[in-house]
Amino acid sequence: MIEGIEVFDVLVVSTAMFFIGIYGFMVRKNLITILMSVELILNAVNINFVIFNKYLYPDMLQGYIFSLFVTGIAAAEAAVAIAIILNVYRHMKGIDVEQVDTMKY
């Protein structure tokens, strides 16, 4: 529908974003970057929603609405996560994820 861009190309971008997010989530030690990785994953999903809606069901709106939902939830989640991270910083004097292991056995 968009001239010169196939659905496949967009999916490549979103898949790349998704796995970059997964990779960042598992590898980065800073809690803030981990949160950023989560946002990447969510936005990859958002792109999928929008692109499938546009290419497969152009006369419907569910995909767009759903991506708005995801954005809203992500905003709330980010607020909570940052609050947690701030508390972690106060207690642990740092936001390294490997420090946060008081819930182990």
Partner: protein, 641 residues
């Protein structure tokens, strides 16, 4: 209605319950004297009510159309399980329950008064009186029970009061052991009683004495028809009920608790372990007598045999005991054996029921003179601070009142006319003779033994030489003397009550006449027993010791109570504890516990090994989750489609 005029009888036990609650709850807040007075006032009030009930029943409302009827002035539904299984609480008046009312309240009142002197200054005086009230309440509830289940409830309540009073000196290990023994042995017997009640009521569909003892009602036929191991279910039920009675009444082989129960204060022995509670077994059989006589004569034979055997057995042991309370305890067992024997040989009917009348008569007279003997023994113990005959002698000079009243009681129990025991024993022996001569001869021989051991006790305590006493023995203080004199008077006069006019197996009054041959024989052997005791113990000499040396085997067996306690110990320790309980305990500890511990150990081991998974590292969890998702995806791709 005649029953309305007796509705006040419900207060007889309730007054005592109130006294128990008042004295028991306030306990140490009351002055000892006040506590004693509350309990004594309650029992005296109950006694007045009981006497008026007895007068009203026997000389008025009880006699209808030529025989004594059963009245139920009060009955209340207590528990309803199903339409047929209902438990009621009520008051039943018939000749024997009214008679028991008189016996229990009289002896209990005397014991209350006596205890003011005997227990003076004792620690726990208030507790003692509270328990006495509890006991009197339970005993009265027992005798006036309208149905088997109510009787069973009060039956256990008297057991508890007995336990509490035997263990009154709870700081003494022997008293604790004795109370425990009494409780366990009677409880074991009560198991039989309970099974008997359940069997009987299952087949007859009722607990009510009124319905059960109705002759010719056909209610027993369903149970009499079913047989089990060669006897009808009814016979089994009645034998099991008798087992409960035998436990409470200390019949062989369940008699072992009664001599030990003498650890309790002596007035308690007089009240519970001589006059009232221990005859509950006799009362139980008498209460169900119509069922026994009409439904299962075989069970009655068991009663007669156990009674006859126990009376002989206990009398032989009584001869060699040296603790005066133990002599009296074995004497009690022996006399209760007499009562059981009389019931066992009795038939149903007025003239044929001579044994029944005799048994109740003996219960009545025995309560008076045996309570007197115990209270006299209490006065002696109070004076010399010992239970052992060897510490006593020559006390007639120091304790004239006790000596005189004790002599009357000893003559009464020996069956010397015209004292109370003579009449009742004569009737028992006559009834036994009519049934089976061997029972008569054994009863006759026991009469001789009774006279012998009572006078052995009497001569050794009151005659002979003075011993070294801590202080000069003093006679009973007034409160004790009143009780002694009252009971002595009772022991003299109650024999003249024409008992058969009031109590008979089927309620019809009849007239008994003296059985002169029986009377002559029994008086002869009683006098011989007394003479032998006088010859052996009155003179300074060694006749008794030489006689004991001449028959070492018999003397030793009797002295050691035929080793019954040792047999019990052997059975419990060797057979039950070592043979049964020990292997079971081993199995429990090693196999049952081992399985459980093994499971717990295995769980602990596994969790120790895998707890490293819970590292607390967020990214490890994420890694596992992603791997899992990938694995599922692959599974879905290759096998899902």
């Amino acid at each position: 209605m005649h029953t309305d005029m007796f509705s006040y009888t419900v207060w007889i036990p309730l007054i005592l319950l109130a006294a128990f609650l008042l004295v028991g709850l306030l306990s140490d807040k009351l002055k000892p004297l006040v506590a004693g007075l509350i309990s004594t006032a309650a029992i005296l009030l109950a006694a007045v009510l009981a006497y008026s009930a007895a007068a009203g029943y026997f000389f008025g409302a009880g006699l209808q159309d030529g025989h004594y009827t059963t009245l139920i002035p009060f009955e209340q539904l207590w528990l309803r399980f199903t339409d047929t299984l209902v438990i009621k609480m009520g008051i039943l008046l018939d000749p024997i329950s009214v008679m028991m009312l008189v016996v229990v309240t009289t002896v209990s009142a005397m014991v209350h008064i006596y205890s003011f002197g005997y227990m003076k200054g004792e620690k726990g005086f208030q507790r003692y009186y509270a328990f006495l009230s509890l006991f009197s309440f339970s005993m009265l509830g027992l005798v006036m029970a309208t149905n088997l289940f109510q009787m069973y409830i009060f039956w256990e309540l008297v057991g508890v009061s007995s336990y509490l009073l035997i263990g009154f000196y709870y700081q003494r290990p022997s008293a604790v052991a004795a109370s425990k023994k009494a409780f366990i042995v009677t409880r074991f017997a009560d198991l039989g009683f309970l099974i008997g009640i359940l069997l009987l009521s299952y087949y007859t569909r009722t607990f009510d004495f009124m319905t059960l003892t109705q002759p010719n009602s056909g209610i027993l036929s369903s149970a009499a028809g079913v047989s089990f191991m060669g006897a009808s279910v009814l016979t089994w039920a009645l034998v099991l009920i008798f087992m409960g009675g035998a436990g409470k009444s200390a019949m062989f082989p369940l008699h072992i608790w009664l001599p030990d129960a003498m650890e309790g204060p002596t007035p308690v022995s007089a009240l519970i372990h001589a006059a009232t509670m221990v005859v509950a077994g006799v009362y139980l059989v008498a209460r169900l007598f119509a069922v026994y006589a009409l439904g299962a004569p075989a069970a009655l034979e068991v009663v007669a045999f156990i009674g006859a055997f126990t009376s002989l057995f206990a009398a032989i042991i009584a001869i060699t005991q040296t603790d005066i309370k133990r002599v009296l305890a074995y004497s009690t067992i022996s006399q209760i054996g007499y009562m059981m024997l009389a019931l066992g040989v009795s038939g149903y009917g007025s003239e044929a029921g001579l044994g029944y009348t005799a048994s109740m008569f003996h219960l009545f007279t025995h309560a008076m003179f045996k309570a007197l003997l115990f209270l006299g023994a209490g006065a002696v113990i109070h004076a010399v601070h010992s239970n052992e005959m060897t510490d006593m002698g020559g006390l007639r000079k120091h304790l004239p009142i006790t000596h005189f009243t004790f002599l009357i009681a000893a003559l009464a129990i020996s069956g010397i006319p015209p004292l109370a025991g003579f009449f009742s024993k004569d009737e028992i022996l006559a009834a036994a003779h009519g049934h089976y001569p061997l029972y008569f001869w054994s009863g006759w021989f026991v009469a001789g033994l009774t006279a012998f051991y009572m006078f052995r006790l009497y001569f050794r305590v009151f005659w002979g030489e003075d011993r070294q006493y801590e202080h000069k023995p003093h006679d009973a203080p007034p409160s004790m003397a009143i009780a002694l004199i009252f009971l002595a008077l009772a022991s003299v006069v109650v024999g003249f009550i024409p008992f058969s006019h009031y109590v008979s197996a089927n309620g019809e009054p009849y007239t008994t006449h003296m059985h002169w041959q029986v009377a002559a024989l029994s008086v002869a052997i009683a006098v011989a027993g007394i003479g032998l005791a006088a010859w052996m113990y009155l003179r300074p000499g060694t006749v008794a010791d030489r006689l004991a040396a001449a028959m070492p085997g018999l003397y030793k067996w009797s002295k050691n109570k035929f080793y019954i306690d040792e047999i019990y110990l052997w059975v419990t320790r060797t057979l039950i504890f070592k043979g049964l309980a020990w292997p079971i305990a081993w199995f429990d500890r090693h196999v049952v516990d081992g399985t459980m511990n093994g499971m717990a150990w295995a769980t602990a081991q596994v969790s120790e090994k895998i707890k490293g998974l819970q590292s607390g590292q967020l990214q490890q969890y994420a890694y596992a989750m992603v791997l899992g998702a990938v694995a599922f995806l692959l599974l879905l791709l290759y096998w899902g489609a």
